[in-house]
């Protein structure tokens, strides 16, 4: 929410973006308009318990009002745990989790994503793991395991397969991370 809105507690509905609803529906939030704002999802949501400004019910409400900037200026959508309590309890099968994911997809298309997500995507592309610790070899050795797990980090062909897949996805069109040929060297902890 902009400072003016916070200061006055007033939301100017005429400034809402009516296109946001369709964007959300196209990016995976197909059931958005089924929501009746009953708040069962909010009662189950860890983000409410932790005190975030936006959570499932409020994200949906803000989308319906077209409050794009309010949602993009706030980090709440990135704190969603994907726990899916909301999906379980929703009496209208809105799948609120998927709507929060769809809002993230809107944000990413405006390059409004957290640094950690960019690093996670880069690490996924470069190593095959969103969370990768280059120095983990010694920890693994300590408990009697080989330096590397039997994943893309130990198998260049597999990594190249994964990279070929990612280059075919929407991520490649967005240009958020470089997608060249690379070796497994970086460290990333998300």
């Amino acid at each position: 929410m902009s400072n003016v809105q916070v200061a006055t507690g007033v939301i100017n509905l005429s400034e809402g973006d009516p296109g946001l609803v369709n964007e959300i529906k196209e990016l995976g939030g197909e059931e958005l308009l089924e929501c009746i704002q009953c708040a069962k999802c909010a009662a189950a949501c860890p983000m409410v318990l932790a005190g975030f400004s936006f959570f499932n019910k409020r994200v949906i409400h803000a989308i319906l009002l077209g409050l794009r900037d309010a949602l993009l200026d706030d980090s709440s959508i990135w704190a969603c745990q994907s726990c899916n309590r909301c999906t379980e309890v929703c009496p209208r099968e809105v799948n609120p989790f998927e709507i929060i994911q769809a809002m993230r997809r809107v944000a990413i298309r405006e390059f409004a994503l957290p640094t950690l997500s960019i690093e996670g995507l880069k690490s996924l592309y470069d190593t095959g793991h969103a969370v990768y610790l280059a120095g983990a070899g010694s920890t693994r050795a300590k408990v009697g395991l080989p330096d590397k797990p039997p994943s893309t980090v130990a198998n260049l062909e597999a990594l190249k397969e994964l990279q070929a897949i990612i280059r075919q996805t929407a991520l490649a069109d967005l240009g958020i991370i470089p997608m060249g040929e690379s070796d497994v060297t970086e460290t990333c902890e998300v």
Partner: protein, 296 residues
């Protein structure tokens, strides 16, 4: 019996002692593990799932096809891997358009998603395929006299429609409880049992808020159960409970420490695994409780 072990990121790089526990316990129970060579990240929620549905499913599907080619189910100890893989499978299985788009992408690397492998969480797999009685019979050590508090983990329960191994009622989970009781433990109930631990995207976004959740849970456990040990069903919950306590103590939020282990680590100990190899990376002091388990 044979199953494909999907090791994931956090287990492989942060808590390989948990990976080693799985690699010990399954063969000890007569179940062979396949490495699913060339597996990648599930992918985790903040990456491909936050970009688009088809890309998420395509990266997931590559992992699924590795298991499908071998005719195996996919086994994890991580709630996020379990959730992401089960959800990508569900999306492709119910939506022919998503499946077709994914297979169009997979064609480039000569793979095809069919949907023939199931996604299984380790303790649910053991519960359903072996059952608590057969596990009880295989134990070398037991948890008799120990009281535990459980942390089932969000993704082990919800959304129940995407999981093959279901709880009768996901808001009253029983599998982890019955499995711990099979090891001889007394399982205490506490009112915040079903709360989220705060690990994951929330901790990455706002650590202070995320730690409020784990603090509430720890205080509830301490006051209502006073457990000898916290048992988690998820590797992320394991990391959160194991690492947050020191922060909370130094911030004067709590004044106690409760040792934390994943169910598979405790099972491996009870089946005779080397304690350093399967619990050696814990930050909480698990030494005394491991001594009691090995004496039991």
């Amino acid at each position: 019996m044979k199953v494909g072990f999907f090791v994931g990121c956090n287990t492989a790089f942060n808590r390989p002692d948990l990976e080693q526990a799985v690699r010990y316990a399954f063969p000890a129970l007569g179940i062979e593990l396949d490495n699913l060579e060339g597996q990648s990240c599930c992918p985790s929620w903040g990456t491909m799932p936050s970009v688009d549905v088809v890309g998420w499913c395509a990266v997931g599907a590559r992992n699924h096809t590795i298991a499908e080619e071998k005719g195996l189910d996919i086994l994890t100890v991580c709630g996020s891997c379990y959730g992401s893989l089960a959800e990508s499978k569900y999306k492709m299985d119910i939506n022919p358009e998503v499946k077709a788009s994914v297979n169009e992408i997979l064609k480039k690397i000569g793979r095809e998603y069919k949907g023939t492998s199931k996604v299984r969480l380790a303790h649910y797999y053991l519960y359903h395929e072996l059952g608590p009685d057969r596990i009880r019979e295989a134990l070398k050590h037991r948890l008799d006299g120990l009281t535990v508090a459980l942390q089932p983990g969000c993704h082990t329960l919800w959304p129940s429609k995407v999981y093959y191994d279901k709880e009768e009622d996901p808001f009253h989970p029983r599998v982890l409880k019955e499995m711990c009781e099979a090891l001889g433990a007394t399982v205490g109930y506490y009112t915040r049992l079903l709360d989220c631990c705060g690990m994951g995207a929330m901790r990455s976004t706002d650590m202070e808020k995320a730690f409020k959740l784990v603090e509430k849970k720890l205080v509830s456990m301490k006051e209502e159960v006073n457990p000898d040990l916290i048992v988690t069903g998820c590797s992320s919950c394991l990391i959160q409970f194991d690492t947050a306590q020191e922060f909370l103590r130094s911030g004067k939020k709590i004044n106690f420490e409760i040792p934390v282990l994943h169910f598979m680590q405790i099972l491996a100990l009870c089946l005779g695994a080397d304690r350093e190899q399967v619990t050696g990376l814990a930050k909480t002091d698990v030494g005394p409780v491991v001594n009691r388990i090995l004496a039991g």
